[in-house]
């Protein structure tokens, strides 16, 4: 049936029911035109590389190219799962992320609660300004600072150590057991303030009447923190915890790579740095490296999907 309808957006439109979407589509062509450039970027730099995943199932031969190389099935995956490096890089990756989550997740919450309860507006502002700052320092610079301070001969630690014990200071950077602590706590130093911002936002939304009512009922400020502040940031915290749990296999390359040296490689080699070394330095084993990288991305994807399903059931929040 033909309809004549006043369309508030496009004036008078004559359309059949079936063609409604089509005419809307046509009227929105400019929106699609705008999306063209961003979409092209994603196609070239995000989707096109996905075709390269076939390398994980091929023996790459430079002469034959990516498409011409021979299929080898799951050979690279078998090789990886049976190599001694598999257990090592998996364990190191998980150690860093789980340790980082356990230590790094509650601290910003605690920090936000305490700072929020602290009287003194000016000092509070100053503390916020200073604790947000490290977030903007580059990874290279941060690792540089740590190495300089921990330097056994000219660093602060080395000099204090020598003054107190009289012996030469240990080389912390070369100590495999120190690596995970260095990684996690430098991360906390850098992101404690920044991660607390979301919680401040949640706390600033709390109705001040609640505090007054609680005070009249005789609740101390500490009790108010436990019974008013904490519950008000709990939903945010749960949401963030779930999201973080989804990226547990996703340990960033940049900082780990900078912290690595020949002495701590046993605990500091993670999946992404291993992929880099296999694929782009020395042996240039593209197929094998792609397979290891693909294993990591797939586990990531599965984790995120699981976590997001849980999250949308529990808190009705979802990534998509």
């Amino acid at each position: 049936m033909l309809q004549i309808k006043k369309n508030p957006v496009r004036g008078v439109v004559i359309s059949g029911n079936k063609n409604k979407t089509l005419s809307k589509l046509r009227s929105q062509w400019q929106l699609y035109a705008m999306l063209l450039i961003p979409a092209a970027f994603l196609l070239i730099f995000s989707y096109y590389p996905m075709l390269g995943i076939q390398l994980a199932f091929k023996d790459f031969n430079a002469n034959l190219g990516m498409w011409g190389s021979d299929w080898v099935g799951f050979k690279h995956f078998n090789k990886f799962f049976h190599s001694y490096m598999f257990g090592r890089v998996l364990k190191n990756t998980l150690t860093l992320s789980i340790y980082g989550l356990i230590a790094g997740f509650p601290l910003p919450i605690l920090f936000a609660l305490l700072l929020n309860a602290m009287p003194g507006r000016r000092y509070k502002k100053l503390v916020q300004t200073v604790t947000y700052l490290p977030h903007f320092i580059s990874t290279v610079v941060m690792v540089g600072i740590i190495m300089q301070i921990l330097n056994p001969t000219v660093g602060l630690l080395g000099i204090i150590w020598q003054a107190v014990t009289g012996n030469a200071a240990p080389n912390v950077m070369g100590n495999p057991t120190a690596f995970s602590h260095l990684y996690v706590w430098s991360g906390i130093w850098q992101s404690l303030g920044w991660s607390s911002i979301v919680y401040f936002a949640a706390l600033s939304g709390v109705d001040t009447n609640l505090y007054e009512a609680a005070a009249i009922d005789g609740a101390s400020r500490f009790k108010q923190m436990i019974h008013i502040d904490l519950p008000s940031i709990l939903p945010t915290a749960v949401m963030l915890l779930i999201m973080n749990a989804g990226s547990i296999m996703n340990v960033g390359f940049e900082k780990v790579f900078l912290f690595q040296n020949d002495l701590n490689l046993r605990t500091s080699e993670i999946i992404s740095t291993y992929v880099y070394k296999i694929g782009l330095t020395g042996q240039n084993d593209f197929g094998y490296a792609t397979a290891i990288g693909l294993f990591n991305s797939l586990v990531n994807l599965i984790l995120i999907v699981i976590v997001n399903t849980v999250s949308s059931k529990v808190s009705e929040q979802s990534l998509w």
Partner: protein, 299 residues
């Protein structure tokens, strides 16, 4: 909250506030100290740095370290390149992000779900390091400026921040009213969306600019030509790999002096490379915070 404290400032509260103050101050000092230490060391003499006399304030004030930094050719090349990558890269980032953000903010765009999925999927899964490298190689982008400014052109996170901002801050009625007057989507975008999005544009500009300034990963993968290296790659050589020419001289005193200067140079270099961010940071802090807030409301 101060009001409640006035109503009832019991002994318990006094203890609580004292504990809070002490803990917060401890955290504050732990975060602040390394920064102060690096600044002070950078203004000290090479001898004071290598013998560990610097504890809090500069010892034997000198600008030797800064002289050494500015005499270093690599640092100057890196600084120039990073400035260029930051300005040019950020421009591309912001332009593309805005182009995508407006259509995605339109609730009535046909196929919205699929388009959104097309964008967010790239956050969840990617081809990985080696396939990306191969693409860059096949497109002949290795060792070009484009290898640095193009691959990360859209941060989907920033895109979502911008989209939420437009959705919740620019009234739909404005669009409907202008469209009745025959305003096209292009014109609406340029004459209304862009000017009204000033604050969110400021936020994402800053986010992108800081990312460019601090990035080294793409450069590590895609660049071999030292003339194109960004500052962070030279910083890595000097700070992490310790590649300062520690001289081949046999004279021990001379070697010591050189080593002292090499360490001092690191401190000064840290300051010089972080200075642009440190300088603007106090003024733009509220924008960053705003960005995190918008992002957290709807992610």
């Amino acid at each position: 909250m101060e009001k409640t404290a006035a109503i009832k400032n019991t002994k318990e509260d006094t203890i609580f506030y004292t504990v809070v103050f002490i803990v917060v101050s401890l955290i504050f000092l732990v975060v602040l100290y390394p920064i102060v230490y690096v600044i002070s060391a950078s203004f000290s003499s090479p001898a004071a740095v290598s013998t560990g006399k610097v504890v809090l304030w500069p010892v034997e004030f000198s600008l030797e370290g800064y002289k050494a930094v500015f005499a270093n050719k690599d640092v100057l090349i890196g600084y120039r390149n990073t400035l260029f990558y930051t300005v040019f890269g950020t421009f591309i980032n912001v332009a593309i992000t805005m182009l995508a953000a407006y259509p995605l903010s339109r609730g009535d765009i046909v196929g919205r779900r699929y388009i959104l999925f097309f964008f967010t999927f790239t956050m969840l899964f990617n081809g990985g390091m080696i396939p990306s490298y191969m693409v860059m190689r096949d497109l002949h982008l290795l060792n070009t400026v484009w290898a640095i400014v193009l691959p990360g052109a859209i941060s989907v996170y920033n895109l979502m921040v911008t989209r939420s901002f437009i959705e919740s801050n620019i009234p739909r009625e404005l669009m409907e009213a202008t469209q009745v007057d025959g305003c096209s989507d292009f014109r609406y975008f340029f004459t209304f969306i862009l000017p009204l999005s000033k604050s969110v544009i400021a936020v994402i500009t800053l986010f992108y600019a800081v990312t460019h300034w601090n990035a080294y990963f793409n450069a590590l993968l895609y660049l071999d030509d030292r003339n194109l290296f960004p500052l962070q790659l030279f910083l890595r050589e000097i700070l992490i790999n310790n590649q300062v020419d520690a001289s081949t001289a046999a004279d021990q005193a001379f070697v010591d002096a050189k080593q002292g200067l090499a360490d001092l140079l690191k401190y000064s270099l840290i300051i010089v490379s972080t200075l642009p961010i440190m300088c603007v940071y106090p003024f733009i802090q509220k924008y960053f915070v705003k960005g995190v807030m918008i992002g957290s409301v709807k992610g």
